[in-house]
């Protein structure tokens, strides 16, 4: 009875894999992987997970064993991409090919055509691959881009062991070692030929060199061993040729100079004889996110195999562990996990029935691109490192511009609407209110004008709300002097203060006067057209005196002209205006406006 009916494995290139045994039907499979020293150095230096260039994948089903081992060329860009791409494509192709029904030569031709046809997809994948390490300078960027444009390359060995049809087909390009052991006569063959390292598959070029293959009878095969060129760098090939399964399992890698991958498939599990019956500790479901075990004497460690979505993850728990949490192994979402006991001699028991468990929340990013097996001693993964990546420039699209324009239009529209609305209301309000005040003011001024200049009493004026006092006073100016900057200066009268008008009511800008002659008050100046912008009007100094424009609102203006030698003062404390002059000419209201005599009528009036 076979412990597993199907088995599928894809290597996670970013993690080392301690050699492990898996029983798959009538095949015993040992797989192991260790990244090159350079990967570890890159990880230490740049604080990123850096994948090795090798790739292993296999699939067992229906007494058929498919496998691929690839060795990405690390001298070029993205060897790990090429090896993963080709490994997965080859497995899929082998699965659908039905090798046994096709002649060996036809199979090879068919594979060659297929591999050349994969170039388009592979090139797209490589072109889209980002640099895992940001370029350090312009030369570095130039060479990296050039290397990426050349594409990635990989070597491979692929095989199909079909026990039912008694065929064993193998294909390879490059210097990955393939050893075939035949049971009866101890025959041993290898694929090593001169110049083989020049044969490879490129994501941009397709087949480069020779694609080789061979076919044997599966029933004659005892063992198939595949390993990449990293292994001969730490053990001699003669030595490796004599290794048994246990030797592969005991392999220890100490930062090899190149990636090391091993896949040893024993076709008949005779080496192990009858598997011992191991008591599988029944897992205790603590909650939906973890299971606990009680250890049994014969069990050295426990292996779990989880089906999570479309991936299968095999994890060897360390001997001291009695708990398993998928989240600790970066497994996300709901999966079904079976458990197996591994003895001290590395013999496996059967799997338990599967248990549903939840891993990390699925919202967290999971590296889907490299699914695969996670080692029992996961290398501590640092937090996302501060990789010095150039900040992406914000993309300003037409939609953004449209939104900005919309905002501007809305704000402007609102502003304009609010302006007219408030101005209208203000005008309506002040139109009534200020007309009343103006009338009162005019009446007061009129009455004052008739009083003797020494008359000390000031009439009450309606208080001006929110008035911030400023000093406005009218000083007597000799009428003979031409208008000048000095004459326009406002100087205080002997009467201390005449605070008057709120700055919101009056401004201090003075339009340039235009000289004219003739008036009973001496030279007068036609008041220039007053600027009607805003709510303020200037206290305009003219040759004949000072003209005040009181502007509670635009629709209600009061213009007062004061002849030279006379002063109109207002005390905000008392809220009174005073015009201390003795020959008070009458004040003649014109329409809604008021002009003081002594000035040209038109000069003293402003159109509304």
């Amino acid at each position: 009875m076979h412990p597993l009916v199907t088995s599928c494995f894809q290597l996670d290139q970013r993690r080392d894999l301690r050699p492990r045994l898996e029983l798959a039907g009538r095949y015993n499979i040992i797989s192991g992987f260790h990244r090159a020293r350079s990967c570890i150095e890159i990880e230490d230096k740049y604080q990123i997970r850096y994948p090795g260039g090798d790739y292993i994948t296999y699939h067992y089903y229906d007494e058929k064993m498919l496998f691929v081992v690839c060795d990405g060329v690390s001298g070029g860009f993205g060897g790990y991409i090429a090896s993963r791409f080709l490994g997965n494509r080859l497995i899929a192709w082998l699965q659908h090919q039905g090798c046994a029904s096709v002649g060996a030569a036809d199979l090879l031709d068919s594979l060659a055509q297929e591999m050349n046809a994969w170039v388009y997809d592979a090139t797209r994948e490589v072109d889209a691959a980002p640099f895992l390490i940001s370029p350090t300078d312009e030369t570095d960027r130039k060479f990296k881009e050039k290397r990426r444009a050349k594409g990635a390359q990989t070597m491979f060995v692929a095989g199909v062991l079909d026990y039912r049809n008694d065929t064993a087909d193998f294909f390879w390009m490059g210097d990955i070692r393939l050893s075939l052991d035949f049971g009866e006569d101890g025959r041993h063959i290898q694929n090593k030929v001169r110049g083989w390292s020049q044969n490879r598959w490129g994501t941009r070029d397709g087949l480069k060199g020779t694609l080789d293959g061979c076919r044997h009878r599966c029933s004659e095969l005892r063992r198939v061993v595949v390993y990449t060129d990293g292994l001969p760098e730490i053990a001699s090939e003669a030595e490796i040729g004599n290794w048994r399964d246990r030797d592969f399992l005991d392999l220890q890698f100490a930062q090899p100079p190149d990636d090391v991958s091993v896949l040893a498939i024993s076709v008949v599990p005779s080496e192990w004889g009858n598997l011992p019956t191991l008591t599988v500790p029944q897992p205790i479901l603590a909650d939906r996110s973890e299971v606990r075990f009680s250890r049994t004497p014969e069990g050295a460690w426990i292996r779990t195999k989880g089906h999570v979505k479309d991936s299968i993850h095999a994890i060897d728990l360390d001997p001291h562990r009695t708990i398993f949490r998928p989240a600790e192994y970066d497994l996300a979402g709901r999966g079904r996990y079976g458990f197996q006991l591994i003895s001290g001699e590395r013999l496996p028991s059967q799997y338990t029935s599967s248990i549903p468990l939840y891993g990390k929340p699925e919202t967290e990013p999971v590296p889907k691109s490299l699914p695969g097996l996670i080692p029992s001693r996961p290398i501590p993964t640092p937090e996302p490192p501060p990789i010095p990546q150039p900040q992406p420039r914000p993309q300003i699209t037409f939609r953004h511009l449209l939104a900005i324009a919309g905002w501007i239009v809305a704000v402007l529209g609102w502003g304009i609407a609010a302006h007219f609305f408030f101005r209208l209301n203000q005008a309506q309000y002040y139109g009534r209110e200020q007309q009343r005040r103006a009338n009162e003011l005019m009446a007061t001024v009129t009455s004052l004008a008739t009083l003797p200049s020494s008359f000390p009493t000031a009439q009450s004026l309606p208080p001006m709300e929110d008035a911030t006092p400023i000093q406005v006073s009218v000083s007597p100016t000799p009428s003979t002097e031409p208008p000048s900057e000095a004459s326009t200066a406002v100087s205080p009268l002997s009467t201390p203060t005449v605070p008057v008008i709120s700055p919101t009511v009056l401004s201090t800008s003075v339009p340039t006067p235009v000289s004219e002659s003739g008036s009973n008050a001496g030279d007068t100046t036609r008041t220039p057209a007053l600027d009607s912008v805003g709510e303020c009007r200037s206290p305009t100094t003219v040759a004949g005196g000072l003209m005040l424009h009181l502007l509670p609102s635009e629709s209600s203006q009061i213009v007062l002209s004061v002849p030279v030698g006379h002063a109109l003062t207002y005390s905000s404390v008392e809220g009174q205006w005073s015009l201390p002059r003795d020959e008070g000419d009458g004040v003649t209201p014109i329409g809604g406006w008021t002009c003081l005599q002594g000035l040209d009528e038109s000069a003293g009036c402003v159109d509304a």
């Binding site: 990967c39 890159i42 001298g75 060897g79 060479f143």
Partner: protein, 264 residues
């Protein structure tokens, strides 16, 4: 036994000294182009190859090659690399030089300068103990006409060594009149295995033989690296190359970069 097996790595970089003749005869045409332009192109090709193919592993540049460039005509100029050896990427970043041929051919002086530099280099314990044997790539297009015979100092250079082996001297003789029977296929050419096979034309025979004697024999490890690159030069063949075409000029530069290299 000298095996020249030390690999160029970032810990044990290879050192290559280019000794380039920029005398006025380098203005002469070869295949319709001044020889000096071919030389510049071959140098650029070599540096590009060393950076792109040899110095990158995965996505990381590794400083595996250090070069020095000394040009000579009537006098010497080693300012391009500051009188010493620099990392090839640093040299590349400075921009590749354009040479202006002029003056005479002071070969002996150039070799003396090379000798001094190599002696200084080999005093470094790292270079002496662990690095690959240094390589001198001498490019010229004609016989010396100042300074005297360079052969003795060339022998001195070949006598220098580190643990990996003696200093290797590559000679490239750029001329289209050297061989009676031109080499048709560079990739299948086995190299000058013996002086008799060289069959130099009489016009240049004397100096060609001098260069032949000055050149080192191709080590097995170099031949192996060259085989991987598709060349058929035999181990033991002299590292003297007739620059009759751009392919042959490139071959000499390729040979100078065939130090074994580590994939790690």
């Amino acid at each position: 036994m000298e095996e020249y097996t030390r690999a160029a790595t970032s810990d044990t970089p290879a050192h290559i000294l280019y000794l380039l003749d920029v005398s006025r005869t380098m203005k002469n045409d070869l295949d319709g182009r001044p020889r000096i332009r071919w030389l510049e192109e071959a140098l650029e090709y070599t540096l590009d190859f060393l950076i792109d193919e040899r110095s990158y592993r995965d996505e990381v540049y590794r400083s595996r090659y250090r070069v020095s460039v000394v040009t000579y005509s009537s006098d010497l100029d080693d300012s391009l690399t500051g009188g010493g050896f620099v990392d090839i990427k640093d040299f590349w970043n400075e921009g590749l030089p354009e040479f202006s041929p002029r003056g005479e051919t002071f070969t002996k002086g150039a070799l003396e300068r090379a000798y001094q530099m190599l002696r200084e280099l080999l005093q470094d314990p790292l270079v002496q103990e662990r690095c690959p044997a240094p390589v001198v790539c001498h490019v010229t297009d004609g016989e010396y006409n100042v300074g005297g015979d360079p052969a003795p100092i060339a022998r001195e250079i070949k006598g220098l060594r580190n643990r990996d082996g003696h200093v290797l001297v590559v000679d490239l003789f750029i001329t289209d009149e050297l061989l009676a029977a031109p080499i048709k296929d560079v990739r299948s050419w086995k190299g000058f295995v013996s002086e008799e096979e060289a069959a130099f034309r009489e016009k240049h025979a004397k100096y060609a033989h001098t260069l032949f004697d000055m050149s080192s024999s191709l080590p097995e490890s170099y031949a192996s690296v060259l085989r991987e690159r598709g060349f058929s030069l035999e181990p033991g063949s002299r590292m003297m190359y007739p620059g009759q075409s751009y392919d042959l000029i490139k071959l000499a530069f390729v040979a100078s970069t065939s130090t074994p290299f580590s994939r790690g």
